[in-house]
């Protein structure tokens, strides 16, 4: 997946930067990642768990940039902390889903026969359930730690990667250069890793960016429903859930976490668009 440098044509970054949506998306995602990193390094104006009885439900001000919640906790700090948690869960989930999905998808597509049957049927079964429902079922049976949430999201998104990887492999393995690699006596692992995989990376990378945004939505959805991150820890979905009853008189409790979810999701989608444009030879030539 990371063989872009070896795999692509020169100036992949150059092509990416020609896409406006790609640039905007990259900027949005970058801001969000920096915010999450600030939380990871503890560079927050307030402790996200610290309750301050004197400052309950204060609006945005110089001291509390995004205001405070019903326990007097700083919403800005909590939003960044929640963002960090959501991003971590999504990145871990998508990494697991992508590595398992791509491996099985490529093997299934290349080997064919019963193995391919098994892989596609299994992913069809998972596909048959609505994503959030399945994640809900899995996370409630696994537990509530962040790694359990990540696992359940990974299971839900693995079949998408299987499909995205398998399709192009079916086409690429019939290409002349793959036949030539057999004629010249390359071993099967070499053919798969160095001649098939680099030629199917484009859709996989785009899918990774898009899946990250879906995973963030799923994670937020799960914590909104009370699964996943548990109070008093902050999570974007949990904050939105808590803010439901407060929003009528303290709009800031709802708006900021929701805004962050929106920005991450939109940003990642735009990055996905940008990547797709950068890889599309038809768009490149124009």
């Amino acid at each position: 997946m990371m063989s872009r440098k070896e795999g692509g044509t020169k100036g992949g970054v150059h092509y990416y930067l020609q896409s406006t949506s790609g640039i905007i998306g990259a900027i949005l995602v970058l801001i969000m990642v920096i915010g999450a990193l600030c939380s990871a390094f503890g560079w927050l104006p307030h402790d996200p768990l610290n309750q301050n009885v004197d400052d309950i439900l204060k609006g945005p001000s110089g001291k509390y940039w995004f205001g405070t919640d019903q326990f007097g906790r700083d919403i800005f700090s909590r939003t960044l902390d929640g963002l960090r948690r959501s991003l971590t869960v999504s990145i871990v989930a998508v990494s697991i889903a992508a590595s398992i999905g791509v491996t099985f998808g490529i093997l299934g597509g290349y080997l064919g026969k019963w193995f391919d049957m098994l892989v596609t049927r299994l992913s069809d079964v998972i596909f048959a359930f609505p994503a959030i429902l399945l994640a809900l079922a899995i996370v409630s049976s696994l537990g509530n730690s962040w790694i359990d949430t990540a696992f359940s999201i990974a299971i839900v998104y693995t079949p998408i990667f299987i499909r995205v990887a398998r399709g192009p492999v079916l086409a690429v393995k019939e290409m002349d250069y793959v036949k030539v690699s057999r004629i010249l006596g390359y071993s099967s692992p070499r053919i798969l890793l160095k001649h098939v995989l680099p030629n199917v990376t484009a859709p996989i990378v785009v899918q990774t960016a898009l899946s990250l945004s879906w995973a963030i939505l799923t994670e937020s959805g799960l914590s909104f429903l009370g699964l996943g991150t548990q109070p008093p820890d902050a999570s974007l979905g949990l904050m939105v859930s808590d803010a439901q009853s407060l929003a009528a008189f303290a709009w800031w409790t709802l708006v900021f976490p929701s805004l962050f979810i929106t920005i991450v999701v939109v940003g990642l989608n735009l990055v996905g668009d940008g990547l797709r444009d950068a890889w599309d030879p038809a768009r490149r030539s124009s």
């Binding site: 795999g7 002349d176 250069y177 030539v180 010249l184 006596g185 390359y186 071993s187």
Partner: protein, 322 residues
């Protein structure tokens, strides 16, 4: 002569499910340093014969009879890993279409290294070998070529790279499956000359597959003419061209345009279409199209009889025309 480098005996290939015979009773030898051409129409089984030598028959097709011996090793009996080791290093092949035969996302230098790395441990000399191989096939500015991607090269140049890939491990037998059909005529001649030169320099055996008799005439020592999955005639180029005995070979040769022909006569063609090999049955496959067909041609399969210099499978071969 000594023992042949490659000897194919009574080879039969057919589809596995719902058996359809694609190749039947194919026997031929290639000696060291010898170039043999296989000519025939599409579907006559020439490419399949070549692929069976490499152990790379398409899925669903298999050898049902006969043996393929390379250097005394029965290629049908060895494991697929042993066969893989032979491919590319002992027996190599230049592919038809250079436009699609190179990995589009890998630098050319890297692709040549791949061939070496697949068969040997790469060491400090590997890069030099790659450079030498590219130089050998007439690539100008080797340093730049190694850093280039296939799309930066023209078809002729890509075919040169393909030839370099096929030759880099000095195979003893090179199979060329119509390596020039996808190229311009002028480039064709250069590529043919290049391969021919390399063959003589290395004393390499060759199997040329083509449907174009004109292309191989100057490149090979012996010719095999295939029709509907069988060898109908084989022999030295001189024998085949001056004294074709099988009516099919005769027909092929008379359909060649010649520059000597000043009367602008119509090109001769062979009436009818080629028979599907699995529909032939107990008869000569060419009988329905043959101007010399007799009753026995439709009831018995003619056997290939003769010497290395000249064999024909026909009941009523054309007499030497003097």
């Amino acid at each position: 002569m000594s023992t042949p480098l490659l000897s194919v005996e009574n080879l039969a290939i057919s589809t596995i499910q719902d058996p359809r015979v694609l190749i039947n009773d194919v026997t031929f030898e290639i000696y060291e340093g010898e170039a043999v051409g296989v000519v025939g129409e599409s579907g006559s089984g020439k490419t399949l014969t070549a692929l069976s030598v490499l152990g790379l028959l398409p899925r669903g097709v298999g050898v049902t009879q006969g043996s393929i011996k390379y250097n005394g090793i029965d290629l049908n009996a060895i494991s697929s890993e042993e066969m893989r080791k032979i491919r590319g290093s002992e027996i190599s092949m230049v592919y038809q279409d250079p436009m699609t035969a190179l990995n589009p996302v890998m630098k050319l230098g890297k692709q040549l290294r791949e061939v070496i790395e697949s068969h040997e441990k790469a060491d400090s000399s590997t890069d030099q070998r790659v450079r030498d191989a590219l130089l050998e096939v007439g690539i100008p500015d080797v340093a730049r070529a190694m850093e280039s991607y296939p799309h930066e090269f023209s078809g002729g140049m890509r075919q040169r790279v393909m030839i370099a890939m096929a030759l880099i491990l000095s195979p003893k037998l090179l199979i060329a499956d119509e390596p020039t059909t996808a190229l311009d005529v002028t480039i064709q001649q250069q590529i043919l000359a290049l391969v021919s030169e390399e063959r003589h320099k290395r004393n390499m055996s060759m199997l040329w597959i083509t449907h174009d008799l004109g292309v191989v005439a100057n490149l090979v020592d012996r010719l095999i003419v295939m029709y509907a999955g069988r060898i109908v005639e084989s022999g030295t180029v001189k024998e085949i061209f001056t004294n074709p005995q099988h009516p099919y070979t005769y027909g092929l040769l008379s359909s060649l345009p010649t520059t000597a022909d000043k009367d602008r006569k119509r090109l001769t063609s062979i009436a009818g279409v080629p028979q599907k090999p699995w529909l032939v049955g107990q008869s000569c496959a060419f009988a329905p199209r043959c101007f010399k067909a007799a009753p026995e041609c439709s009831s018995t399969i003619p056997q290939l009889v003769g010497t290395l210099e000249k064999s024909v499978s026909c009941f009523h071969p054309i007499e030497a025309n003097i």
